[in-house]
């Protein structure tokens, strides 16, 4: 998490993670429900602006360009040219015709995807995972599920470090990890084998640690060191997010 300390970044960072989750959800679903794709691109622009304001502009744009453009092109190709719903043709490429319905559908899907992507990215950049999990457990998520999310996030990098050491150990035993295709294929088992076996024993010991620290004892309601507050701003933002979702439903109902 980069430490850009302008007032907006601080404000966003201070928001309750649940508020942020709700906003991500409402924006994404709202744009999906709304019949036309343009609202989605509008929201996307707002997200980019927010990204720039909190010092993440470059990364958000990179995400949109690197992932968004290829996906949009691919979807335009698949849906625009070959969607069974195509009735109004807007262009002719010779080998296929481009349909308005499919094109609109492709644009909507891609905008929704990008909104989820950008909003989720911004949320992750401004929230500690432990805070999100603490907020979720405080509003009723099972302790064990909370543990799973955090432990997975922390254990995996540790295991990746272990793979490096194992690679060294096996190279020292004559395993060639950078030779021909056959040599590289042969190296897979000596590398993954120790990872799996030693991780299993590690897991057993970690279980011992959890047990002796009273993890999951019944009776007491668990408490958390991390404090998650719900401020007035949180409530206002939550209301706005829900209003957005409802208003996107209106054109469908009316």
């Amino acid at each position: 998490m980069e430490n850009i300390n302008n007032s907006i970044a601080v404000l966003v960072r201070k928001l309750n993670p649940i508020t942020k989750l709700l906003i991500v959800f409402c924006l994404g679903i709202g744009c999906l429900i709304y019949p036309l794709p343009f609202v989605g691109y509008g929201v996307l622009c707002l997200l980019v602006i927010l990204g720039i304001l909190i010092g993440q502009g470059k990364q958000v744009l990179k995400l949109i360009v690197g992932f968004g453009i290829p996906v949009t092109l691919m979807l335009l190709f698949i849906q625009g040219l070959y969607s069974p719903n195509n009735k109004t043709m807007i262009a002719d490429f010779g080998f296929a015709q481009m349909g308005l319905e499919g094109t609109m559908y492709a644009l909507k899907i891609s905008s929704t995807l990008l909104i989820f992507l950008a909003a989720f990215y911004l949320m992750l950049q401004t929230t500690k995972n432990s805070e999100t999990v603490a907020a979720l457990t405080q509003s009723g998520l099972n302790m064990k599920l909370g543990y799973l999310i955090l432990a997975s996030l922390n254990v995996v990098p540790q295991m990746q470090r272990k793979v490096k050491v194992i690679q060294e150990a096996q190279e020292s035993r004559g395993v060639e990890t950078s030779g021909s295709f056959i040599q590289r294929t042969k190296a897979f088992l000596p590398l993954i084998g120790p990872v799996v076996l030693s991780s299993l024993t590690d897991a057993q010991e970690r279980g011992m640690t959890l047990e002796t620290r009273g993890f999951g004892i019944s009776g007491d309601k668990p408490t958390s060191y991390i404090k998650v507050e719900t401020t007035g701003l949180d409530i206002v933002l939550r209301m706005i997010a829900i209003c957005f979702l409802i208003s996107s439903l209106l054109p469908r109902i009316l």
Binding site: K162, V165, I166, E168, A169, Q170, E171, S172, R173, G174, V175, E176, T177, S178, G179, L189, P190, G193, P194, V196, L197, S198, T201
Partner: protein, 270 residues
């Protein structure tokens, strides 16, 4: 085999200097111990000796050939490296298969492999455990399983990283036996260890490292009588030696026998 290390320097990608100009030569079969505090660069240095790490500056020559010319897997035929944690290399379901693994990579014949297993399993004390799963072995046996699997490749030089950690009495005795075997069979054993008792019992040459440099190199008498080096490298002499030094005995003693001898002389001279 001869390893020449010329002005070896190593910088981490983060910028920290791990090794700051090491010059030394390993030759012959007198076992060498590398000692020093954690973070002194012992393991970083050792990992250069079989090509796992590449020098940032300087060079390492093995019988005149630069180590950077080949991969670690190539050098593994000549230089064996036993890692500190056995769990990082064991992955087959029996000790026998672990032993066969290295020689099979080298393409040795079935017959030759079996002969070696016979001999090596006896040397490392796992003859009766060949069909056991390595993860069902106790800590001592597991360590010897990894040492055995490297010895099976019959390298000319073998590097042991912290072989004494977590060992019991029997394990230490067996390690001594293996080091002695290597010495008598013209194999060079380079060992990183914190256990000074073990060092003075088994090693002819000691290298003291501190802050990425070799502070002192010599036999145990030179090293453990050099108070300045010991202070600077935070190395404490073995218990017996400390008692001898506290009593101001004239000669430095490393074993119970030596101490008894020196102390007897002390009380009779007076």
């Amino acid at each position: 085999m001869k390893i020449e290390i010329k002005n070896l320097k190593h910088k981490y990608p983060s910028g920290g200097e791990a090794l700051r100009g090491i010059n030394t030569t390993f030759e012959g079969s007198n076992p060498v111990a590398i000692i020093g505090q954690n973070g002194a660069g012992k393991t970083t240095f050792a990992k250069h000796l079989n090509g796992l790490l590449r020098p940032t500056e300087g060079q390492i020559l093995i019988d005149g050939e630069s180590i950077s010319d080949h991969t670690t897997a190539y050098w593994s035929k000549y230089i064996g490296y036993v890692f500190q944690n056995p769990d990082n290399q064991l992955f087959l379901e029996t000790v026998r298969k672990e032993f066969e693994f290295g020689p099979k990579q080298q393409g040795l014949s079935r017959h030759e492999i079996n002969d070696r297993i016979e001999f090596i399993s006896d040397l490392v004390g796992l003859k009766h455990r060949l069909s056991t799963h390595p993860f069902d072995l106790n800590a001592t046996e597991k360590k010897f399983c990894t040492i055995g699997s490297i010895l099976m490749m019959d390298p000319k030089i073998i590097i042991l990283d912290e072989p004494t950690c977590g060992q019991d009495v029997e394990g230490n005795q067996r390690l001594a036996k293996i080091i002695n075997y290597l010495k008598n069979n013209d194999r060079l054993c380079i060992t990183i260890t914190h256990d000074m008792k073990f060092v003075v019992r088994n090693f002819d040459q000691i290298i003291v490292m501190s802050k990425g440099e070799i502070l002192k190199s010599g036999n145990k008498y030179n090293v453990f009588s050099d108070v300045k080096t010991l202070l600077e490298s935070h190395v404490a002499p073995p218990p017996i030696t400390r008692v001898g030094q506290a009593l101001r005995l004239k000669d430095i003693s490393f074993s119970k026998e030596e101490f008894i001898d020196h102390f007897t002389r002390r009380i009779h001279q007076s």
